[in-house]
């Protein structure tokens, strides 16, 4: 729309800058830059930051700004971690509300499923635990407002326990006979619940240390094949089956995260369009609110996806192997870096170059964004609104809806970026995760030709802008420039890039007027 020529000129300019930087890196530090590993890393980082850049580009094109991106990345990451949080819950476990040594009773929550003669595993802490047999089941009574059943048990508990502050004193769960134990295979009594891969079994004994084992699979005759052998285990132990219970399934967790960030985007949009608040203010508040929420939801503890190494972890670290193998090597082992060559394929030391999966997601986002912005009605409306909101409104465009859409797109892409960053790093410290990401995203968009005046900008420009930022970061590491200068250099390059852009624009205008 509009000045297509200057748009292309901008992209050409910044692409030249990117190529120049690559040449410098190949010249100065080929042995580290041209390794498959480094290139994959560059692709991955470009993909992750690029998604955020494209998100904010929509908002910038609508002549707004979104400062909440970094915090929203963190919130999305924390929410995903919380939604995917895994608990290991013993099957049929109930709360214990009172333990009386003299009466030899244990009061448990009334919704228990125990019967007389059951052997139960009582657990409070490492010192107060043990196997007890149900000798009798009393009536239901109310204890501190909670309905409980009083179980008479044998042997009698060692000491009294009373509930404090309305919290249960411990947990109690059913146990099952171990019929046979051999190697890493355990056979439990037939009425024991079925366990699956990654569930656990706690083997308990009144005089031995209890041991927790992970189930690998179910063997023949309903044997449980455990992940490791334990010579200390035998059929004298009783088994507490423990089931792996994630808070949500993976698809549901992702959907929930996207649903939440989408709503936040809608809220941003409505505050800006309906209450006429300034985007800067709205999203600045978002920046503060989401950061605080993330820390509160996680108790400021680092969260991650340790339980999901086999699923999410594979996606995060996964790559599509191109079949191309190479490696830069020194020609003369004693010589300097300038005497080097690339060895290919089967040559010794060559490594496979793979494209990270995240990069494919990025390609999908780029493709969709380009189509959306240039070919759909909403994309064209967005550009019109960015140029002149009033004129767009007078032309019958629902400017409020379009502006809100920009914030929703930004929030959803930020959410996508957030979950990508989250599974990529697998360790989310809520107080620092995603810090300054909004500025990286805005910088990449501006470097890529988006004007904060609105209405101007292209998706490809943002992609190249992000690649340039990430290459810069890479070169700071590879060229051994002091870390402390990182921001200075990135800042200087952006300043240089944008100033150069304005200068060419002025020169072009001058040239055109001369020509005419």
């Amino acid at each position: 729309m509009g000045d297509r020529g200057t748009g292309l000129l901008k992209i050409a300019g910044i692409t030249t800058l990117l190529l120049l930087l690559w040449c410098i890196l190949i010249w100065e530090s080929p042995l580290s830059f041209l390794t498959p590993n480094n290139l994959e890393n560059l692709l991955r980082r470009t993909a992750l930051y690029g998604v955020l850049g494209i998100g904010v580009a929509f908002v910038i094109i609508s002549s707004g700004i979104d400062l909440s991106i970094g915090s929203l990345v963190c919130l999305a990451a924390c929410l995903l971690a919380l939604f995917l949080h895994v608990d290991y819950v013993p099957v049929g476990q109930v709360d214990v509300w009172e333990v009386s040594a003299d009466d030899s009773t244990i009061s448990v929550a009334a919704d228990h499923g125990f019967t007389e003669g059951d052997e139960l595993w009582y657990y409070k802490d490492r010192r107060n635990k043990g196997l007890v047999k149900v000798a009798g089941i009393g009536g239901t009574e109310i204890l501190d407002g909670t309905p409980v059943t009083v179980l008479t048990v044998d042997p009698a508990p060692k000491r009294d326990q009373d509930s404090e502050d309305g919290k249960p004193v411990g947990k109690i769960s059913s146990t099952f006979d171990v019929i046979n134990y051999e190697g890493n295979a355990a056979e439990l009594e037939s009425n024991a619940p079925n366990l699956k891969h990654n569930d656990k079994v706690l083997f308990v004994h009144n005089s031995e240390t209890s041991r927790e084992k992970t189930v690998d699979r179910t063997g023949e005759n309903n044997q449980l094949i455990l992940t490791d052998e334990d010579s200390g285990l035998n059929a004298e132990f009783r088994a507490v089956p423990i089931r792996k219970t994630p808070y949500m399934s993976i698809p549901l967790a992702f959907l929930s995260v996207f649903g939440i960030v989408l709503c936040l985007g809608v809220i941003h949009g409505l505050l800006i369009t309906r209450l006429k608040m300034q985007p800067f203010v709205v999203t600045l508040c978002g920046l503060l609110i989401y950061r605080g929420l993330s820390r509160w939801l996680t108790n400021d503890q680092t969260v991650g996806f340790i339980e999901y190494q086999e699923t999410l972890g594979k996606v995060a670290t996964g790559r599509w192997e191109t079949g191309i193998q190479f490696m830069p090597v020194k020609v003369d082992p004693a010589g300097d870096a300038s005497s080097w060559k690339l060895v290919w394929d089967s040559a010794e030391g060559a490594q496979m170059f793979g494209i990270p999966y995240s990069f494919f997601i990025f390609l999908g986002v780029i493709f969709t964004a380009i189509i959306f912005l240039n070919l759909t009605v909403w994309g064209r409306h967005l550009q019109a609104v960015g140029r002149n909101e009033e004129a767009a409104r007078y032309s019958g465009i629902s400017t409020h809806r379009i502006t809100t859409l920009a914030y929703v797109l930004c929030a959803v892409l930020t959410g996508l970026g957030g979950v990508m960053f989250a599974i990529d790093s697998n360790s989310i410290a809520p107080s620092s995760f995603g810090n300054f990401f909004e500025l990286y995203a805005i910088a990449a968009a501006v470097l890529g030709g988006c004007s904060l005046r609105g209405g101007e900008g292209s998706i490809l420009g943002v992609v190249v802008g992000t690649a340039l930022m990430q290459t810069l970061y890479n070169s700071i590491v590879l060229l051994k420039i002091p870390d402390e200068l990182e921001f200075t250099i990135i800042g200087a390059v952006i300043l240089f890039g944008v100033a150069g852009d304005e200068l060419t624009r002025m020169l072009a205008a001058k040239f055109r007027s001369k020509e005419a």
């Binding site: 509009g2 009605v377 465009i397």
Partner: protein, 523 residues
């Protein structure tokens, strides 16, 4: 009917010798990308003279004035002040020579007071502290000279446009302006305000200040000018002195053709009621409600003074402002229009008053602007825009409306006012509306384009489109309306049939009292 009049050859200088001239301009030329704005234009100006510069839009008046005021620099040519050759590289430099331009859009800071505006950038100060008392005292002197009785402490934003203009002139006097260049000064003034402006201009002239006056309103030019220079297509065309300054003379010089059939009327059949407005109260005039109706094929004028609530009424009908109460019926169905989109869906189109802010997205191409309203309508199922349709619509409109543009990809800001207005019209005609609302459709449009717009309106009405147009130009309302409503301070003061339409009847209703004397004065 169209008799080509050739321009008189260059350098015909009817004025006196060099020494008498305060300002002299020789062979000024200036080009912009794709446009030759000025070509070898010369003029002279004597002290205490009112010189009008007229010409169609795009004739080069504004460029010439901007060069004289140092806003732009010429590509070639010379400027002499008091016989000395000078060149202005900034407005400051022009100001130092006593030449001040008063822009069509006033350049005042709304948030500052009158005194602060007058001395903006030249505040009397000591050690960086502004001396407010001195500002007030000195301002009062200049305010007195322009005959404005407001306190220098008044915040400019609270003054009417007319008074703001006086402040602007006072500001010019405060820098000892000897040449005041006024670009369309009456375009947003009421007739009363205009009248006092004319008195001021005359009094300044008597004080020895020279005035270069630019206006489309030939009646004003005729009334004020000692001499008139006509520009056509960026070139000096003719000079009229004294008795030569007649309406017909000026028009034929500007257009280069006879305009005896300026308002040509083609008969059109009036059909069913398309728009009916019942007791509509706008947020701007909550104390009054307005009822009116427009029929298919009918051209209805909405006359009145600037600020009488006509624009606000159109805005409320079109859904830009939410009316406080009342209803709108389209084709006898009561409709709820909460935003312009819904208005468009009901077949309503609005060509707004402020073309650059509301009518067009000035940085986008002709095609983007014409296509913008229809994007949604012509989109495919998955929301993909139909660019073929957009392009063909644009081509049809360029052809039908005679939009002069190098290509459909031309950025709209490089078009002349008239062509920009045609782009706005093209945008809406491509939607085939049944009701067309026009707000000052010929403002800032040259005479040639004006006539084309009138013809277009006639044609649309004959194709049974309902047309409601707001105009402050009485001549226009009388010329093309089948019927007209007149507004005064937010309420309809009357309805006039074609047979009852004349300047006097409109002005009586527009002023709602017997301010008729002044109306005649202006008409």
């Amino acid at each position: 009917m169209i008799a080509e009049q050739n321009c008189i050859p260059l350098n015909v200088n009817k004025s006196n010798s060099l020494s008498e001239n305060l300002l002299e301009v020789h062979r000024l030329s200036k080009s912009f990308p794709g446009v030759r704005a000025l070509h070898q234009v010369s003029l002279t100006l004597k002290p205490g003279e009112v010189l009008s510069v007229i010409g169609e839009n795009g004739a080069g008046k504004s460029t010439l004035m901007k060069i004289l005021a140092g806003v732009q620099s010429a590509d070639s040519g010379e400027i002499f002040v008091d016989g000395k050759k000078t060149a202005f590289d900034s407005t400051r430099a022009a100001m130092d020579h006593g030449i001040v331009l008063i822009h069509q859009e006033l350049n005042l800071c709304d948030n500052l007071n009158v005194g602060q505006n007058i001395f903006l950038g030249r505040e009397p100060q000591k050690f960086g502290i502004v001396n407010s008392r001195e500002i007030s005292q000195k301002s009062e002197e200049f305010l007195k000279r322009v005959g404005l009785s407001v306190s220098p402490k008044t915040i400019v934003g609270r003054l009417t446009i007319g008074k703001q203009q006086m402040v602007e002139i006072a500001k010019a006097l405060s820098v000892d302006a000897r040449v005041l260049i006024m670009d369309e000064p009456t375009s947003s003034l009421s007739s009363k305000e205009s009248a006092s402006l004319f008195e001021l201009i005359e009094s300044l002239r008597d004080q020895g200040v020279s005035i270069i006056y630019i206006s489309h309103r030939l009646a004003e030019v005729k009334r004020l000018s000692d001499r008139v220079i006509v520009l056509r297509d960026g070139e000096y065309c003719n000079e009229l002195i004294g008795d030569e300054i007649t309406h017909a003379n000026m028009v034929s010089n500007m257009v280069g053709r006879d305009i005896s059939q300026f308002y040509s009327r083609t008969p059109h059949k009036i059909g069913e009621t398309v728009l009916k407005v019942n007791q509509l109260r706008t947020p701007h005039w909550p104390q009054h409600s307005v009822s009116l109706k427009v029929k298919a094929g009918e051209i209805v004028g909405l006359a009145g003074l600037v600020g009488s609530g006509r624009t606000e009424l159109l805005r409320s009908i079109f859904g830009i402002d939410r009316p406080l109460s009342g209803s709108v019926e389209i084709d006898k169905q009561t409709v709820k229009i909460r935003n312009p989109k819904e208005a468009v869906n009901h077949g309503i189109a609005l060509v707004p008053e402020d073309r650059k802010q509301h009518g067009l997205i000035i940085d986008l191409s002709v095609q983007d602007n014409i296509g913008i309203a229809g994007l949604q309508k012509h989109a495919s199922r998955f929301g993909f825009a139909n660019f073929q349709k957009q392009k063909s619509d644009t081509e049809i409109m360029i052809d039908r409306l005679g939009i002069k543009t190098p290509s459909d990809r031309q950025i709209s800001k490089f078009l002349s006012g008239g062509n920009q207005q045609k782009v706005v019209l093209g945008k809406w005609l491509s939607m085939a509306p049944k009701l067309l609302l026009l707000d000052e459709p010929t403002r800032g449009v040259d005479i040639g384009a004006k006539q084309e717009i009138y013809q277009l309106i006639e044609k649309l009405a004959s194709e049974s489109m309902a047309i409601l147009f707001v105009s402050s130009e009485l001549e226009e309302v009388i010329g093309i309306s089948d019927r007209a409503y007149v507004m005064h301070e937010g309420q309809l003061t009357g309805e006039l049939d074609r047979s009852e339409l004349n300047e006097e009847s409109i002005m009586r209703l527009a002023t709602n009292t017997a301010e008729l004397k002044e109306a005649k004065h202006n008409g």
